[in-house]
Amino acid sequence: MSTPPTSKTPVKKSSNPIPNKERIKMPRQHMPEALPQVRNKQFTEVNLGYSAELARQEALRCIECAKPSCTKDCPVGVKVKEFVQLIVDGDFMGAAAKIREDNVLPAITGRVCPQEDHCEGACLLCNKGESLGIGYLERFVADYEQQHFDVTTVVKAPPTGKKVAIVGSGPSGLTAAGDLVQKGHQVHVFEALHEIGGVLVYGIPEFRLPKKIIREQVDIMRAMGVEFETDVVVGRTVTIDELMEEEGYDAVFVGTGAGLPQFMGIPGEHLNGVYSANEFLTRINLMHAYEFPKYDEPMVDFRGKNVAVIGGGNTALDAIRSSLRLGAGHAFILYRRSEAEMPARIEEVKHAKEEGVEFQVLAAPLEFLDDGKGWLKGARCQKMELGEPDSSGRRRPVPIVGSEYEIPLAVAIMAIGTTANPIIQTTTPGLATTKRGYIQADDTTQKTSRHGVFAGGDIVTGGATVILAMGAGRRAAKSIHEYLTTGEW
């Protein structure tokens, strides 16, 4: 039974011919994947994407809830039910446009968003079996749009005459830029590195998010009118005050991401062969070290070696799966809690296991061992057990006395999180920071202590996910637009 449409909220009648009680029995369509033993040797994408047929088949499973919890649980509020219905109708460009109303980077979120924590986790189909493949559908629609996108059809909003500077071209910055340009503001994005995309480019490997996808999404934004400038470290090359006072920006959004990689502070972390995940992944992703010597950036030789990544998040899994692709003989994750506490996406854990990554959980290194010539030769580790929950709500790992053991290692990669990058905070007078050095910003407006300056993403929250950063970018864009149109702070 569907509610009759009222005149105020016209609801399009579903063209899905399958009764709801049949839909819930339909199995979820699997994502076609490259074979594990083939893909773990190359950097090409693992997930191959739905065909139009698979997408339509999957879209038919949506039970079209009256109050869709998927949208409610999406940090940017994608209208899932509506875009899925458009897929059922075969109107893929319409579906893309529908997603774009709330999400300017659908080809990216369709690939890297932890859907199980948001839309898919909230999907009512979970009660009956598997959730709707919302991420897969989003990816399909976005890729379809990409193939059929016509730059000439982009309609630009009438200019407001207001200028906004976006600092950082990662997920929060790109989202804010996309939303603001659609309101007619002049948007200029500053990026410190030589490529646009921030963590999407330097952090996430090609096999999970091809660079081509990012470039195409950025090209769409360019067509929409967003200006990009690389090689600018705001705070060093130009300060926020100079942007506002000398370059005439009416508002600034700071989305500079997380910063300095953390180390454990254990002996041997300076040995050659010990990397931060950020450095390792930057060498691979941004600098193409896996294509040495075609590209100049070098990497130590991984072939046949024992490689361990310390940590259990998506970054850790990206690093260990990249290590396999560099030829590591034995690749494992060292994580101090159990698999249940791992913050990584479920799909990444599954993919990593299929590819041959070994998980040594409830273990942590105590010391890295020197081969006598300054190179890593192994680690002395300790086993852990789980104690009481800590402030994060996860059970605290407690060392087991006398459980020390040694493992031989040629490379160790630390993926245990980051701390705040200080450049903006130390060069912007009056910008309030938290105890841990992150920028203080309001949870809903993303306003900072400085008039006209907004901030969001990891530089406010500390290391989180792409979609949470995008949510912050979206909220910031909304309040920047309000500020620019009303003048009220």
């Binding site: 330097y202 470290v233 502070g265 972390e269 300076h270 050659n272 450095e279 930057t282 941004l286 070098p298």
Partner: protein
């Protein structure tokens, strides 16, 4: 793209570039550096800023041919461009009226020390400069340094110019003569900086060194440039590049800078081979054309 307005060798294998980079020129302070990427397949490397002209919007960098990237860079001429240049990076030098400052520059390190020496003089310090080079050709910026220093000493390892010996010999003389020294700034090869640090540690003279670890992003993101400072990891790109010499673990710096020695060697060999084959390829083509014409 960053246009090279002028490129000139100032010593064998050492080239000075004047590059159009208005944003960097406007902001550069003594002690800061840039990161460049020559082309699409290039690596990112940190380089010394000799000086900049905010009015003209230009930045001078001084580059010594060592590996592939610096050789490639030094093959560029006036009118060519560098794909990426980002900066100014790092914390500026602390410029204060310390009293007497001894500025020590070794090789291309002299270019990095020059703007700091200049600023130290301007604020009222007595500046004693010691420039060291392996030989006469590798003594850089002597006349520039004379303009901003009260006294300049020059040493060459082989005695081909000025005093034969090392910069530390001159520093020892100054100390033994009872010269009051309030601060030493040393910029140059690691063994030189380490020797200076060892000498001034005993004398309890505050000493700063500008470190040059392997670096990628230069903004505090990757952690590749971490140096061990009194047992603690610090990042040269955001916490440095200048550090208190007496707290730096130089042995770790040497060890970490050698991490990619094999790859660097291979890159350089490949590059030289490529340059050679280009040189010989050109006449070969001409021959082919001539043969073609005969047919």
């Amino acid at each position: 793209m960053f246009k090279i307005l002028n490129a000139q060798f100032i010593a064998p294998g050492i080239k000075r570039f004047v590059i159009e980079a208005p944003r960097i020129a406007k902001k550069q302070r003594p002690g800061q550096f840039v990161i460049i990427r020559v082309n699409e397949t290039g690596e990112r490397i940190p380089l010394t800023i000799e000086k900049s002209d905010p009015e003209k919007g230009t930045v001078n960098i001084v580059v010594q041919s060592i590996g592939k990237t610096t050789n490639l860079l030094n093959s560029l001429e006036t009118g060519d461009s560098i794909l990426d240049m980002v900066g100014p990076l790092g914390k500026p030098s602390e410029i204060e009226n310390f009293g007497t400052v001894v500025v020590i520059g070794g090789g291309v390190g002299t270019a990095m020390a020059y703007p700091t020496a200049s600023a130290m003089k301007r604020i009222g310090n007595r500046v004693i400069t010691i420039i060291g080079g392996r030989n006469k050709d590798l003594v850089l910026l002597e006349s520039e340094m004379r303009e901003v220093s009260d006294t300049v000493f020059v040493t060459t390892d082989d005695g081909s110019y000025a005093d034969k010996g090392l910069v530390t010999d001159k520093l020892r003389q100054l100390i033994e003569n009872g010269t009051r020294i309030d601060l030493v700034l040393a910029v140059g090869p690691i063994p030189m900086m380490r020797a200076v640090a060892d000498m001034t540690r005993k004398e309890r003279i505050k000493t700063m060194v500008s470190l040059n670890p392997i670096m990628i992003d230069g903004t505090g993101m990757c952690g590749g440039c971490r140096v061990l400072v009194e047992g603690k990891s610090e990042f040269a790109c955001v916490d440095g590049p200048e550090f208190d010499a007496h707290r730096v673990d130089f042995a770790i710096l040497v060890q970490r800078n050698a991490m990619y020695r094999d790859a660097e060697k291979r890159s350089l060999e490949d590059y030289k081979h490529e340059v050679e084959s280009k040189k010989t390829a050109a006449p070969a083509e001409e021959v082919a054309c001539a043969l073609e014409a005969k047919k």
